[in-house]
């Protein structure tokens, strides 16, 4: 049973060797909520998205995903949160059908179910280029409660939000490029 909050960050920050990569951030996301957070730069945006998805651990403050702490129960957090990286899928290295089957295997989802769900999601994401649409579809196939998008293409955010109906979505954007 999930708590009222899907994602709760309290002064969550990330620093390495004295350098602050993610400044202290507090935010709350409930089931189905949508939130756009603007980070100072691309590096901070990536870091914050990774903290919110439980892929990295905050060096200060706290992050909880559902009822779990990514520092203690990372695998539980990853069953709740899905992360979509900024970079597109390199279609020259992996074909799209194979990619969905690979992701389904990692999440232990029936490959036929995954293919059908991915197809339905891709139809909703139709105007997007495959290289951007497939990672989003693959992230949504396991039916996560939280979708974290690291600097998605602004023009396609409405389609992504429509495809992720019922799922809390955190969009992390960067104020400046680089």
């Amino acid at each position: 049973m999930l708590s009222m909050h899907i994602l709760r960050m309290r002064d969550a920050a990330y620093a390495r060797r004295g350098e602050t990569i993610v400044a202290p951030t507090s935010l709350d996301l409930g089931p189905g909520d949508r939130l756009t957070h603007v980070a100072a730069n691309a590096r901070e945006a990536r870091g914050l998205a990774m903290l919110a998805a439980g892929l990295a651990r905050a060096t200060a403050g706290s992050v909880s995903i559902g009822e779990y702490d990514p520092r203690v129960q990372p695998a539980h957090c990853k069953r709740i949160a899905a992360f979509v990286a900024h970079d597109p899928l390199p279609l020259s290295q992996i074909d799209t059908a194979h990619y969905i089957a690979y992701r389904a295997a990692l999440w232990d989802i029936d490959p036929d179910d995954a293919r059908v769900r991915a197809q339905a999601l891709l139809e909703r994401l139709a105007p997007m280029h495959e290289a951007f649409a497939f990672p989003i579809a693959a992230a949504l196939v396991p039916s996560p409660h939280l979708l974290v998008l690291d600097r998605p293409q602004a023009a396609f955010v409405p389609q992504i939000l429509a495809a992720a109906a019922g799922c809390a979505v955190l969009v992390v954007r960067a104020e400046e490029r680089g």
Partner: protein
């Protein structure tokens, strides 16, 4: 971790590095065929282990970001992921050693099966030790690569130190080195911070 997830990780990693594995096998075939008859044991041990170390280092983050992101996002524990990720370079290194042995046989100077097993144990141990370097940086990374190279030297010294006792000592040393290296890799992956 389900067997399906493990197979998916291993097969994707092998597929992503198929060119490197093919080049390594081609190199092993040439080296095995043209090697001096005086070094039928030392040459495969050092050559194939070095190739194993190189193949292990290719598993580091950054070469295939979509695989790194997928593996990191999946609900898997560090130890489980480490076992699956270690299988890919271990299988590649085993294939390289087999190709080397095959080429030796074709040139009429193949090492006996017992020597092949000793060489393979050394290749696997050094590959697993080197795997730890992929998630380290700076001096720690360099020290781990040196440790992997030392594993080859110690394994060879043990294997050539006596008949049965030397072989047994080498196999025990390689089994222990490989076990602790894999365990350490799992711990490191669990603590690994992609930022």
């Amino acid at each position: 971790m389900s067997p399906r997830a493990a197979v998916a990780i291993v097969s994707e990693r092998l597929r992503a590095e198929r060119r490197a594995v093919a080049f390594a096998c081609a190199g092993a075939a040439i080296a095995g065929y043209v090697q001096s008859h005086a070094f039928t044991f030392a040459a495969p041990m050092f050559f194939c282990s070095t190739i194993g170390i190189a193949l292990a280092l290719l598993q580091g983050p950054g070469r295939h970001p979509y695989l790194d992101t997928s593996e990191r996002s999946a609900p898997l524990f560090g130890r489980e992921l480490a076992r699956a990720k270690a299988l890919a370079p271990a299988m590649s290194a085993t294939l390289v050693t087999l190709v080397y042995w095959g080429a030796q046989s074709a040139s009429g100077s193949a090492m006996p099966p017992t020597h092949f097993i000793l060489a393979l144990a050394c290749v696997l141990a050094s590959t697993l030790v080197a795997l730890n370097a992929t998630i380290l940086s700076g001096a720690a990374r360099d020290a781990t690569i040196v440790l992997a190279a030392l594993t080859i030297v110690v394994a060879f010294a043990l294997a050539t130190s006596g008949e049965r006792a030397g072989a047994a000592a080498e196999l025990i040393f390689c089994a222990l080195s490989g076990f602790f290296a894999l365990r350490q890799y799992g711990e490191s992956l669990a603590r690994y911070d992609p930022l």
